[in-house]
């Protein structure tokens, strides 16, 4: 039986990993991910979780140990963010290319410099092209559910790719929320034991990670790209089964009052809750506004996204990262969306706003301003590329 508890989201995420009967956790603590790793080490030390906790000396070693344990056939988890992700990123590309179903929680944090321990999506976007499946949660319940679903998705024989579960640092990781925690029996029913297709086994030797000469590298990349592409259908299946068993149904793209909306705000992560509050207030004043939230960023659900926004005249697209295009090209989320729209010959007015950088608050009033700005703009009224929100001139 699931039990409703009041718990910090990081602790709940670690408990969810414990419920998944993980075999190996190799991780290095970094703010604001620390509580996740700390709690997992407690669970192991106190005998609640029968797993190896590897206290490595860096994130580079963390992902190296994860690759080794996953390649040996163990269910493997790690967690990091920001500079830690940057240090382990070399190995992350290898984990996905070797098709290892590692699950990693990323407590999203800004990248230095200046040093910032606070929340934005710099690490999420740093990982964008790494070949990992990327899911983004909005609240604590979703983080618990996505973590459990992540193991099932990653280990699906048709997927076999690592999965990143993104939770906003502090604004989500350090919140105490009411969460329905499933019990071990329920999770066991949903998540069968991991059966690796290929693993390091002295009785049946294989080579993982060999050199790929020019005559095979293109084929290797094509095969990996196809794997990520076809994972979308399996993610939907896993979300559906999760919904059936636990009663909480997740979609690739989530919508809020968007059906008749003239202006749609496009968000990812916990900031969507502020956006929904703003939408309620604007609806009260007769403005037709809605929210479309991207839950799965890789593989990008282009068709589902397009279906959700095609009725809108205006799009307010949030990017929670500076990707330094020199001001000539949009932020990464907007870039994806413009690409989808161009392919479908559909051209709403778009305002791309860089908001909530390095922990800066984004208020519901900010959303009202963004919506009004795009709605009132004629061609050229909103900067073509992007605009910083809340920047002091």
């Amino acid at each position: 039986m699931s039990k409703r508890v009041g718990v910090e989201v990081s602790i709940a995420a670690a408990d969810a990993v414990g419920l998944c009967d993980v075999d190996v956790v190799a991780a290095y603590p970094i703010t604001p991910q620390t509580h996740i790793v700390e709690h997992l080490s407690e669970l192991v030390a106190e005998g609640h979780l029968d797993a190896e906790f590897v206290p490595v000396e860096s994130e580079h070693s963390a992902m190296s140990a994860c690759i080794g344990s996953s390649a040996a056939g163990a269910r493997t988890f790690t967690s990091t963010c920001s500079q830690g992700y940057a240090l382990m990123s070399e190995l992350c590309y290898i984990a996905s290319s070797l098709r290892l179903p590692i699950v990693m929680a990323v407590a999203n944090r800004a990248l230095s410099a200046p040093i910032s321990i606070w929340n934005d999506h710099a690490d999420l976007m740093y990982a964008r092209d790494s070949g990992w499946i990327q899911v983004i949660g909005e609240n604590g319940q979703e983080i618990v559910d996505l973590t459990i679903a992540a193991f099932r998705i990653a280990e699906d024989p048709k997927v076999l790719l690592p999965v990143q579960v993104n939770l906003d640092g502090f604004t989500l990781s350090h919140m105490i929320e009411p969460i329905m925690m499933p019990d071990k029996k329920e999770v066991k029913k949903f998540l069968p034991p991991y059966k690796p297709q290929l693993r390091l086994d002295p009785a049946n030797p294989v080579t993982l990670g060999p050199v790929g000469m020019p005559d095979v590298y293109t084929e290797a990349r094509k095969a990996q790209d196809e794997a990520l592409k076809s994972s979308k259908a399996e993610i939907v299946k896993v979300f559906n089964e999760f919904g059936k068993q636990f009663g909480r149904k997740y979609n690739l793209i989530e919508t809020y009052k968007s059906e008749d909306a003239e202006t749609i705000i496009v968000t990812m992560g916990s900031i969507s809750q502020t956006a929904m509050t703003a939408v309620d207030a604007m609806r009260d004043k007769g403005k037709k506004v809605g929210v479309v939230r991207i839950r799965v960023f890789r593989p990008f659900p282009a068709d589902e996204f397009f279906a959700a926004i095609k009725g809108a005249k205006n799009l307010v697209i949030l990017d929670r990262v500076t990707s330094f295009t020199g001001g000539y090209i949009s932020g990464p989320v907007c870039l994806e969306i413009k690409s989808i729209l161009y392919d479908r010959k559909h051209y709403p007015k778009i305002g791309n706003f860089l908001a909530g950088l390095g922990g800066r608050d984004v208020t519901d009033q900010n959303f009202v301003e963004m919506v009004d700005k795009v709605a009132a703009s004629k061609d050229g009224g909103v900067p073509l590329a992007y605009e910083f929100i809340n920047v002091r001139e």
Binding site: S97, L98, R99, L100, L160, Q197, L198, P205, V206, T207, L208, G209, P210, G212, M213, D215, V216, T218, E219, A220, K222, A223, E226
Partner: protein, 97 residues
Amino acid sequence: MAKETGIMSWKSLNLGIAITKPGCAADLKTGDWRSMRPETDRKKCTKCGQCYIFCPDMVYSKDAEGYYVQNYYYCKGCGICAKECPVDAITMHQEVE
């Protein structure tokens, strides 16, 4: 002679391009990297086997007469054999094809 591998559809690659057959590197034709080819002058050769010992890629093998012969399927033309040959029987020649 081993058959050339690596020329295959992306659909037939193992998961994560894992190699499941031990020793299959022997199938890879690596001799086509070579720009200089070692050749042995049998009039000078004393069959001492230094070329066989020093070759980093096991290109040399002994024939029926006791001479050490190169396998150009693997030889990358590094020239170590020519350098080490105590009687200068091995010389390097530009590949012309």
